[in-house]
């Protein structure tokens, strides 16, 4: 797990007065002068020392590469959506095997031992190819929705925080109303009105991600607003939007990056849930959530069919969460607790 040598108090009940040895080591970055505890260099240093975060970063990179590969390889989608049984000369649609997914690395239709390393699904489509293509869908959805939500949140949050008063009240009441309806229910109601599509799902999710960032930015802006350098900027004649763009937003960026990384994981989970219910990716687009929905009919004959997509979601989300936690520790170990409240909303 993440190394936490930075804390000055050892809380072991029996040994309260015996500080841990590493607290006195010179290498410990927290022993340094506070003024050096900022900046990208320091963050990279912290991440390098944090084994868990580093592993998370490797996994995220691998998944990103897989997702990019899925985008580049034009044949993959064909392979992932082609119902290969139907084209096979030996295939008999009336045979009892036609309704059973083949298990393991071979199938009954002579495609060789490694043709389908993870088997095929109920329509004869290769599970590995669908998993690989599904990474693209998940990553796209997670990154896109987080980005839109972040942009909206930054605008609303910084305006509300900077101007305060009536504008703040109005915007924050609107945000609270969005908060008030359970996420999934609102998205489903929205999609029943607008239509079922992955892009619409992403837009709906990003609208509902806005409040998380708006609240975060607003609280950051409230503290930055009173700083002497903002006062100085105002005195030197900068306009409001210039102050917001040049001083307020850059100074609250650390916590936004942390929140965004953690948010990607929750959004991947949410999109998978929507696809599982049939509101996200539509057939034949391969998606992890939709694959799990397909697998519901084959839990007994082929349990592995439902294991792989779930495992893919789990690994991806764990990796993003580890990186987010690592970034949080590196950028601001004493980050406000209220930000963690947003975890587990979905």
């Amino acid at each position: 797990m993440a190394s936490e040598s930075k804390d000055t108090i050892d809380s072991r009940p029996g040994e309260l007065f015996v500080p841990a040895e590493e607290e006195y080591s010179v290498d410990n970055p927290d022993e340094m002068d506070n003024s050096e505890d900022v900046g990208i260099k320091y963050t990279i240093l912290q991440i390098k020392e944090d084994t868990t975060a580093r592993i998370g970063l490797y996994i995220v990179s691998i998944i990103m590469i897989v997702a990019i590969y899925a985008t580049i390889d034009a044949q993959l989608l064909d392979y992932a959506i082609a119902e290969r049984f139907w084209y096979h000369p030996e295939f008999d649609p009336d045979s009892p095997e036609a309704n059973l997914p083949p298990i393991g690395i071979t199938n009954a239709y002579g495609e060789g031992t490694v043709a389908h390393p993870l088997g095929t699904d109920h329509r004869g489509r290769d599970i590995l190819a669908r998993l690989v293509y599904g990474s693209r869908v998940s990553i796209q959805a997670g990154v896109f929705a987080t980005f839109i939500g972040m942009a909206g949140g930054i605008i609303i949050g910084s305006v509300a925080g900077y101007y305060g008063g009536r504008i703040d009240d109005l915007l924050m009441r609107g945000i609270e109303t969005l908060y008030a309806i359970p996420f999934l229910v609102l998205i489903i109601a929205f999609m029943s009105a607008v239509g079922r599509d992955l892009v619409i799902a992403m837009v709906a999710v990003s609208i509902l991600t806005t409040p998380v960032f708006a609240r975060l930015i607003r609280s950051e802006v409230l503290s930055v607003r009173e700083m002497a350098y903002v006062e100085a900027a105002r005195a030197s004649g900068l306009r409001d939007y210039q102050i917001i763009l040049r001083h307020v937003i850059p100074n609250s960026f650390a916590s936004v990056v942390v929140q965004a990384t953690l948010q990607i994981g929750s959004i991947i989970l949410l999109i998978a849930g929507l696809s599982f219910l049939g509101f996200g990716a539509q057939e034949p687009t391969p998606d992890w959530g939709a694959m799990l929905a397909d697998s519901r009919g084959f839990l007994l004959p082929n349990p592995w069919f439902s294991v792989w997509p779930g495992l893919a979601i789990l690994i991806t989300v764990v990796a993003f969460n580890i990186v987010g936690d690592g970034l949080r520790d590196a950028l601001d170990p004493y980050i406000d607790n209220s930000q963690k409240e947003d975890e587990g909303r979905i």
Binding site: M1, P13, T177, A180, V185, I188, A272, P303, N337, R345
Partner: protein, 335 residues
């Protein structure tokens, strides 16, 4: 401001939120592409223009949008959520009340499950920081917040339902159900046992995410308290570690957990849509999916509104509980 006045003030503040929910719900339904009259009448009667016109007249659908909204709002305030198309004229509120107990039971059970595991786990994790127990607790909570709840449900079904055959995997009989209609039960007591048996797997599936999230919050809250000045002071007096934990740290570390209970309820309600689908439980979550599949407008509006109201109640209760527990809260409003 007294606690009583704070409660009143807080309840008053929910009115804009309720208003907002009603507007959003109504606007969404009106944005739907298909014609409600077509769905209501079915294909046979659609042929005649008069039948369509008569239906529009009868349901007030040929009035302007804002008038329809006001009519709907007045009816909703009076407790009339309209009549379901899909369930052949059963009133929406009856349908919601019929499905509500199963969802409430599931959400309550998952809440008990997650809180009773997460609070001890978070405290142990913080107290034994960087020891084996802490590592295990943190791995459990990391995996818990990263796993799709419906996948946990599927895996539980495969392992405990199909392979081990220990527990039922589908449906949720209510404890007051007629024993004759519940399989494997002859007396009312056996019905209760069946309810509990059916409840185990969905509860774990729904509760794991929240269990993990609360564990993380409890751990960081506990660490924050343990790192604070007054704990240093108590230590300096030579008070033993155990007493510090029991008397000074535990109570103060509960506050952040209380604040997120409202969000936990909302999350569990949303998650129940997925879990009820996986385990074929006839609750509110599946009702809303059925309503959307059938494009049953009154039912969609009714259930969405109802979900929103339950959640707002949850948030308000949490806020009031928080004000009650933490003497430092200035009861809002004053500033």
């Amino acid at each position: 401001m007294s606690l009583f006045r704070y409660t009143f003030w807080r309840l008053l503040q929910t009115i804009p939120a309720l208003f907002g929910i009603s507007i959003i719900t109504f606007a969404l339904i009106n944005a739907m592409p298909s014609d409600p009259v077509a769905i209501m009448l079915g294909p046979e009667q659609m042929a005649s223009e008069e039948a369509i016109e008569a239906a529009r007249e009868r349901h007030g659908l040929n009035q302007p949008v804002h008038i329809r909204y006001l009519n709907w709002l007045v009816a909703v305030v009076q407790g009339d959520l309209g009549v379901s198309f899909y369930y052949n004229g059963v009133s929406v509120s009856d349908k919601i009340l019929e499905r509500l107990p199963a969802t409430l039971l599931l959400v309550f059970a998952s809440f008990v499950f997650s809180i009773s595991l997460s609070i001890p786990l978070g405290i142990i994790s913080a107290a034994r920081r960087n020891k084996l127990a802490d590592h295990i607790a943190r791995i459990i909570s990391l995996i818990g917040v990263s796993t799709p709840s419906f996948w946990i449900g599927l895996i539980l079904i495969i392992v405990f339902g199909y392979y081990l055959r220990w527990l039922p995997i589908s449906g949720l009989p209510m404890p007051y159900a007629d024993p004759a209609r519940v399989s494997g039960a002859e007396t009312q007591f056996e019905v209760l046992l069946q309810t509990l048996r059916h409840l185990i797997l969905p509860t774990i599936a729904l509760g794991t995410l929240r269990m993990a999230a609360v564990t993380r919050i409890q751990r960081s809250a506990m660490l924050e308290v343990l790192n604070s000045g007054y704990i240093d002071l108590v230590k300096a007096y030579g008070v033993s570690g155990r007493t510090i934990m029991r008397k000074h740290a535990l109570k103060n570390a509960q506050l952040p957990v209380i604040t997120i209970i409202g969000l936990q309820i909302s999350g569990a309600l949303g998650g129940s849509v997925l879990i009820e689908t996986v385990f074929n439980i006839n609750g509110l979550g599946r009702l809303i999916i059925t309503a959307i599949e059938a494009q049953d407008y009154p039912l969609i509006m009714g259930t969405t509104l109802f979900f929103g109201i339950i959640f707002i109640i949850g948030v308000v209760v949490t806020d009031i509980a928080y004000a009650y527990v933490d003497p430092r809260v200035s009861y809002g409003g004053e500033s």
